[in-house]
C-alpha cells in the first residue's frame, strides 16, 4: 500500500497507509502506551490507554482538496475528542499529538481508574518486574491515588481457569488480550467474559476448563499479573532469572525457547522470538513439558550389571567395558552382529557420531531411529528431497499461497503449526485440509475434505491425475526420471474412478488441483496418518509437488511432520540401515529396528546399543529380544524399562545441559545452548559416543575398511525399487579415519558441514547470525507490547538447509507404486493417533502428566450401534497378530469403519494387535460377570 505522510508531535514522517496510529507512531520512534492492543491481534480499543489527539486536513467541500491557511499550510481540523490510537488508521496529512496536557490528563485518568480496582500486591505478584501496568504507571500514571484503599473491590483468588493457568480477578484489567488470543489466533474459543460492571470477569467456557494447547501464551501477553501459570507460580522473581537459549525437542517445529534459570534451577520456559519458526508463541507442551530436566529420577552415574544387579560405576569403567564387549563381538561375529538405535530427539552431532562410530569402527549398518514396532512407517525421504525451499518463511506468506494439509493433525503432532497456518490464513492464504476424520485445524480451512479411511492414496492419485490432465508435465522443471511410467500409472485411474474410491467428489478434486496450480506458493503438509498409508503416500505427494511446480523455491515444498524433535536430523545424518548421511543409498542395507529384534533373539545380532529410546516399554518383542541379547548398552536420561534390561547404563545429558543443533520440519537447523551444569555425572551423548570410540582405539581395533563406499550410488532413495533412473555409481572419497578428539560439538558440526550434503556452511558461528538488524528483538516501543512476554532472539535464528532437489544433483523419480487394493477380511481399520500429551518420557514431572489419557479405542456412533457398544464398555480387538482389550469411547469425529487408538501412551502397547502401520481388526464387546 502507498505511504502517507503524518505528523506526530511535530515530527513529520511517512508510514504505510492503513497502519493504526499506535504502530505509525512507533515507526517514528514515539511511544503511545497501550494495554489491550497487541500487534498480532485486531485492535479493540478497550483499555483507552492509547487516547491521543488526532486531526486531519480540512477539505474544501467543493474541490475536495485540503484548504490552505494563511501560512500556506493545510488547515488541520482536530477531532473534538480524544481518539484511541489503536483503532484509528492513519490518513494523508494526519496530525497526531501524544503529549498535550489533554492527552496526559486522559492517560493519568485511565491509569488512576485501572488502579482503583487493582490490589497493588506487586511484591507477591509473579508479573512484578516485567509488568506493563507497573511500567506504564511509572511512566504515565499519577503519583498517588485519590481512591480509599479500604473501598477496593475484593474477589476470591486465585481462580483456576484450568489445570495450568490461574486467574487473579483483582489484578485483571479486562483488556481481553487472552480472550482474543484464544478466539483469533489459537481458534480455541474457550475463554469469555461473564457478567458486567464490577463483576465483569474472565471465565473459562470449556470442559475440561481452558482446553487449549496454547493456554500458556495468555500469561505472556497478559499486561498485568492476572493470568499466571501454575508451573511458575511463586517460584522466583523475574529479575533473578537468567535466560538461556535452547531449542525445543518435543516436536518437529523446533520452537526457540528461553529456559529461565535461577542459578542452576529451571524456573520457567518462555518463547524466544523467531519469525521463521515460532514467532512469539510456544505451545503448552514446550512451556510446561521441560520439567524432566530436573526430575529426581534422572540418572546421575553410569551403571554396570554385576551379578544381576545394576551397580554404580565410574565412567572409565563403563566406557571401557562397552568398548571391550563391543570389540569382542566384532572380532568374533563381525560388525554386523552389533546394532544401534538412536532417538530422534538427539542432536545432529550425536546422531552423526553415532552412525559414524557404527559405520567406521564396526562396519555395521544396523542403525535406526525408530522403535521397530510393526506400526513404524517407512523413512520419510521426500520431506528432505522435496522439502520446503530455502528462504521459506511462513510468517511472510499470505495471499497467493496455498497449504494442503493431508492426513495430519497438527494440533497434536506439531501444535505450533496451527498458529502459523492460521496467521497465514489471516493474511489471505488458502488452506485445504484433507483427512479421514475431523481435526481442529479444519475449522479454519478454506476447503475441507474427508476421504474414505484407507483411501488417501487414491485421493492423491486423483489429484495427480487432475493436475496432469490440466498441465501435463510442463511445470516439471526438475531433473527427473520415469515420466513415461507416471503417464501410464496415471492413465490407469481417472479422476472419477479416484473420486469413487476415496469418496471425495471429482469436481472437488479438480478444484483443489486447480487451486494448487493457481497458487504462487504451495506447501504440502503431511503427518502420521498420511504416512501410515504406506510409502506410496509421500512419494505421490512429492510427485504432486513436482508436477505443480511447487518445489525448489521459497514458500513451496513438502513439510513432513515426523515424530520426535529431530527425526529429520536423524534421516539427514543417516541413522538408518539403508542409507548414509545425505540420503546416499547403500547397496547392502543393514538391519532396521524391526529386523533387529528377531535377529537378537535368533542370535544373528549379539550386541545392541540404544541411545534415548525405550522399546522395551512399548514392544513385548523388543523386551524378549533384549533379554536374549548378549550385551545391551543403554544411554538414557532415566532408568527406563529398556535401561533396566541393560548391561551398561550410561547417563546422558538432557537438551538443557549441552550444546547441539537440531533440524526442524522446515529443514531449518537451529542451535541450542547449554542452560545448566551437567546433572550428576551425566555427559552429552556425543561425548559418550566419543568416549567409547577412544576406548576402542586403545584396544587397537582395526577400523573397518569402508569397502562398501565404492558401491554407493548417488541415486536418491525415492527411486528405489522402481526406475533405474540415472543409477550411475560414483565413488565417494574415502575420508581419513578420524581420531575422535572433538573438544566441542562445534567441531563435529564443522565435520558435518564438510561431509553431509546440504549441511555445507552450517557452522556454529554461522548459526549465531540473527538475520537483518532490527527485525528480531525489541524495537522502539516494542517493549510496551511485549514487556516480559518473550525474549528477543540474540543467539541466532538458524539456517534453512537447501532441499536436495534444489542443487539439481539428484533426480526425482516419478515412478509410482501401483495402487494396492486393501484386503477387507476384518471390519475395522485400526489407526493410531498421535497425541501431544502422550507417554513421552520427556513429559515426566510436568503438569501435563495429568492430561495424558488412559488407553482407549475410539469408535464412530455408527460402528458402536452396529456392535452394540456403549461408551466405557470393555471391548476386545482382534487382528491377524493377536488380541487386545481396551475401554471404548464413542466419539463424533471418527468416521465409520475406523477404530482410533492413541499411540505411545504410558504403560500401554498396541503391539499385540498391530500387523503394520495400519491393521484390520474386528471388535467385540467383552461381557463380564
Amino acid at each position: 500500500m502507498a505511504d502517507v505522510t503524518i505528523t506526530v508531535n511535530g515530527v513529520t514522517f511517512r508510514v504505510p497507509a492503513g497502519t493504526n496510529v499506535v504502530d505509525a507512531a512507533r515507526i517514528g520512534g514515539i511511544s503511545i502506551p497501550v494495554f489491550c492492543y497487541h500487534p498480532r491481534m485486531k485492535p479493540v480499543g478497550m483499555c483507552r490507554m492509547c487516547l491521543v489527539q488526532v486531526g486531519t486536513p480540512r477539505l474544501d467541500p467543493a474541490t475536495r482538496q485540503p484548504m490552505l491557511g494563511e501560512d500556506g499550510r493545510p488547515v488541520i481540523a482536530m477531532m473534538p475528542k480524544l481518539q484511541t490510537g489503536c483503532t484509528t488508521p492513519v490518513s494523508e496529512g494526519m496530525v497526531i499529538n501524544t503529549e498535550s496536557d489533554e492527552v496526559q490528563f486522559a492517560q493519568k485518568g485511565v491509569l488512576e481508574f485501572l488502579l482503583t480496582s487493582h490490589p497493588l500486591d506487586c511484591p507477591v505478584c509473579d508479573k512484578g518486574g516485567e509488568c506493563p501496568l507497573q511500567n506504564l504507571t511509572m511512566a504515565w500514571g499519577p503519583g498517588n491515588s485519590r481512591f480509599d484503599y479500604n473501598d477496593k473491590v475484593h474477589f476470591e483468588k486465585p481462580v483456576h481457569l484450568g489445570d495450568l493457568i490461574l486467574l487473579d480477578r483483582e489484578r485483571c484489567i479486562l483488556c481481553s488480550r487472552c480472550v482474543r488470543f484464544q478466539d483469533e489466533l489459537a481458534d480455541d474459543p474457550v475463554l469469555g467474559f461473564d457478567n458486567r460492571g464490577r463483576n465483569w470477569m474472565i471465565i473459562s467456557k470449556s470442559d475440561p476448563p481452558f482446553d487449549s494447547k496454547f493456554s500458556g501464551n495468555t500469561t505472556d501477553i497478559c499486561p498485568v499479573g492476572a493470568l499466571t501459570s501454575a508451573d511458575f507460580r511463586f517460584k522466583a522473581r523475574v529479575w533473578e532469572l537468567s535466560s538461556k537459549p535452547v531449542v525445543c525437542t518435543l516436536c518437529p517445529v523446533g520452537c526457540n525457547l528461553s529456559l529461565d534459570m535461577r542459578y542452576d534451577q529451571l524456573m520457567r520456559v518462555m518463547p524466544r522470538e523467531n519469525g521463521a519458526v515460532n514467532d512469539i508463541w510456544i505451545c503448552d507442551k514446550g512451556r510446561f513439558g521441560h520439567r524432566f530436566i530436573e526430575h529426581e529420577s534422572r540418572l546421575t552415574t553410569p551403571l554396570i550389571r554385576k551379578g544381576g544387579h545394576l551397580v554404580e560405576a565410574s565412567w572409565d569403567e563403563a566406557l571401557a567395558l562397552v568398548a571391550e564387549k563391543l570389540a569382542a563381538v566384532q572380532s568374533s561375529r563381525g560388525g554386523s552382529a552389533i546394532a544401534g538405535l538412536a532417538s530422534p530427539r538427539l542432536s545432529n552431532e550425536d546422531l552423526y557420531l553415532f552412525q559414524k562410530l557404527f559405520r567406521e569402527y564396526f562396519g555395521s549398518h544396523n542403525l535406526d531411529h525408530t522403535l521397530g514396532s510393526a506400526a513404524d512407517v517407512d523413512y520419510d525421504e521426500h520431506g528432505a528431497l522435496m522439502g520446503v525451499g530455502k528462504g521459506t518463511n511462513l510468517m511472510e506468506m499470505g495471499a497467493g499461497s496455498l497449504v494442503l494439509v493431508i492426513g495430519a493433525d497438527p494440533e497434536e503432532e506439531a501444535p505450533l503449526y496451527v498458529l502459523r497456518l492460521r496467521a497465514m490464513l489471516e493474511r489471505g492464504a488458502k488452506l485445504v485440509v484433507a483427512n479421514m476424520r475431523p481435526t481442529k485445524l479444519e475449522r479454519s480451512a478454506t476447503t475441507r475434505l474427508y476421504y474414505q479411511p484407507g483411501s488417501e492414496l487414491a485421493f492423491v492419485r486423483g489429484l495427480l491425475r487432475a493436475v496432469f490432465d490440466r498441465v501435463g508435465h510442463e511445470r516439471l522443471h526438475l531433473k527427473h526420471s520415469g515420466l513415461e511410467q507416471l503417464r501410464k500409472t496415471l492413465s490407469d485411474l481417472s479422476v472419477e474412478q479416484a473420486a469413487e474410491l476415496c469418496g471425495v467428489p471429482a469436481e472437488t478434486i479438480r478444484a483443489v488441483a486447480q487451486a494448487l496450480l493457481e497458487a504462487k506458493q504451495g506447501l504440502i503438509m503431511y503427518g502420521a496418518e498420511a504416512r501410515s498409508a504406506g510409502p506410496g503416500m509421500s512419494e505421490s505427494l512429492a510427485v504432486l509437488a513436482a508436477l505443480t511446480g511447487k518445489v525448489g523455491k521459497p514458500g513451496s515444498g513438502l513439510i513432513a511432520l515426523l515424530p520426535g524433535g529431530n527425526s529429520r536430523g536423524a534421516l539427514d545424518m543417516g541413522v538408518r540401515p539403508d542409507a548414509r548421511a545425505g540420503y546416499a543409498v547403500l547397496s547392502q542395507r543393514g538391519l532396521g529396528a524391526r529386523e533387529v529384534w528377531p535377529a537378537l533373539r535368533e542370535g544373528r545380532v549379539k550386541a545392541v546399543w540404544i541411545a534415548g529410546l525405550d522399546p522395551a516399554a512399548q514392544l513385548p518383542a523388543a523386551r524378549a529380544a533384549l533379554e536374549a541379547a548378549d550385551f545391551v548398552v543403554v544411554q538414557e536420561l532415566f532408568l527406563t524399562e529398556t535401561a533396566k534390561l541393560a548391561d551398561v547404563v550410561l547417563p546422558a545429558a538432557s537438551v538443557a545441559e549441552r550444546e547441539g543443533t537440531y533440524t526442524n520440519a522446515e529443514l531449518r537447523v537451529q542451535r541450542s545452548r547449554q542452560a545448566r551444569q551437567a546433572h550428576g555425572e551425566a555427559r552429552p551423548d556425543w561425548q559418550i559416543i566419543q568416549g567409547v570410540a577412544q576406548h576402542l582405539s586403545e584396544l587397537s581395533v582395526p577400523v573397518a575398511v569402508p569397502t562398501q563406499r565404492v558401491e554407493e550410488s548417488s541415486q536418491p532413495v525415492g527411486g528405489k525399487g522402481k526406475s533405474k533412473g540415472p543409477g550411475k555409481t560414483t565413488a565417494v572419497t574415502v575420508a581419513e579415519p578420524s581420531t575422535w578428539d572433538y573438544l566441542t560439538p562445534s567441531e563435529i558440526a564443522a565435520e558435518i558441514a564438510e561431509r553431509v550434503p546440504g549441511y555445507a556452511g552450517i557452522t556454529y558461528s554461522a548459526l549465531a547470525a540473527t538475520g537483518q538488524g532490527g527485525d528480531w528483538g525489541r524495537q522502539t516501543n516494542e517493549a510496551i507490547f511485549y514487556d516480559g512476554t518473550n525474549y528477543e532472539n540474540s543467539e541466532g535464528i538458524g539456517i534453512q538447509l537447501p532441499n536436495l532437489i534444489e542443487g539439481q544433483k539428484t533426480a526425482v523419480s516419478l515412478g509410482l507404486r501401483p495402487l494396492s487394493k486393501p484386503a477387507h477380511e476384518r471390519s475395522l481399520l485400526l489407526v493410531s493417533q498421535s497425541l501431544a500429551y502422550d507417554g513421552d518420557l520427556l513429559l515426566r514431572g510436568s503438569l501435563l502428566e495429568r492430561q495424558i489419557p488412559q488407553p482407549y479405542v475410539a469408535l464412530s456412533q455408527t460402528d458402536a450401534d452396529k456392535l452394540n457398544i456403549k461408551p466405557g464398555d470393555t471391548v476386545r480387538l482382534d487382528s491377524a497378530a493377536g488380541e487386545l482389550t481396551l475401554s471404548a469411547r464413542v466419539v463424533d469425529d471418527v468416521p465409520a469403519g475406523v477404530a482410533l487408538i492413541p499411540s505411545n501412551l504410558p504403560n500401554f502397547s498396541a503391539a499385540a494387535v498391530q500387523t503394520g502401520p495400519r491393521t484390520r481388526v474386528n471388535l467385540v464387546k467383552v461381557v463380564t460377570g
Binding site: L120, P123, V124, F155, K157, K235, R237, E240
Partner: protein, 165 residues
C-alpha cells in the same frame, strides 16, 4: 632534660588516675546505639504470623548478593504469612553481608530488621549462612497488626465471587 621528661610523664600519670575506656569484653558488653545495624531478625505480627511475604525485594536490593529467598504458596492448612506467598527458604550469608540495611529499606512489611546483635563469629564458612529458623523471632515476640493491604486479603469478597451461569 629532666624537665622535659617530667613534662612527658605528666600526660602518662594524668591518665593513670582516669577511668579506663577499655570495656572488659566479653564479660562486659558495650551498649550500641539505637540505630546500630547488627544481625538481621525476621519479625512477626502480634498474632504470630510471619511478616515476610517472600517477595525477594531484600535480595534484589542487597548490594552484596547475600540474601537468598525461595518463595512458596500459602495454603489454608499451612498459612505461614498473610496473603498468598511466604518465604520457604530465607538465608543470609553473613560473610557477604555488609550490614548496609538496604534490605530493611526495601522490605514492604518491615519483616527484616537489623538488630543489635553483633556477635557473629564462626569456625566454618558454612556456618556463616544464617537460615530462616535462626533469623526468625520466636512466635510470641510478634508486634503490630497487619496493615489493611495484607489483612484485607482475608476479607470476604465484596461482590459474590461465583455467579450462577
Amino acid at each position: 632534660m629532666i624537665g622535659q621528661l617530667l613534662k612527658g610523664l605528666r600526660t602518662t600519670f594524668g591518665y593513670i588516675f582516669t577511668q579506663p575506656v577499655t570495656v572488659q569484653y566479653p564479660e562486659v558488653k558495650r551498649p550500641v546505639r539505637e540505630r546500630f545495624r547488627g544481625r538481621h531478625e525476621l519479625k512477626r505480627f502480634a498474632d504470630g504470623k510471619e511478616r515476610c511475604i517472600g517477595c525477594s525485594l531484600c535480595a534484589a536490593a542487597c548490594p552484596a548478593d547475600a540474601i537468598l529467598v525461595v518463595p512458596a504458596e500459602n495454603t489454608p492448612d499451612h498459612q505461614v504469612s498473610y496473603g498468598e506467598r511466604y518465604a520457604a527458604t530465607y538465608e543470609i550469608n553473613m560473610l557477604r553481608c555488609i550490614f548496609c540495611g538496604y534490605c530493611e529499606d526495601a522490605c514492604p512489611t518491615n519483616a527484616i530488621v537489623l538488630e543489635h546483635q553483633y556477635e557473629l563469629s564462626f569456625y566454618d564458612r558454612r556456618d556463616s549462612i544464617y537460615t530462616k529458623e535462626m533469623l526468625l523471632v520466636p512466635e510470641d515476640q510478634g508486634h503490630g497488626d497487619a496493615p489493611p493491604i495484607l489483612s484485607q486479603l482475608e476479607r470476604r469478597p465484596s461482590p459474590p465471587a461465583q455467579i450462577d451461569l
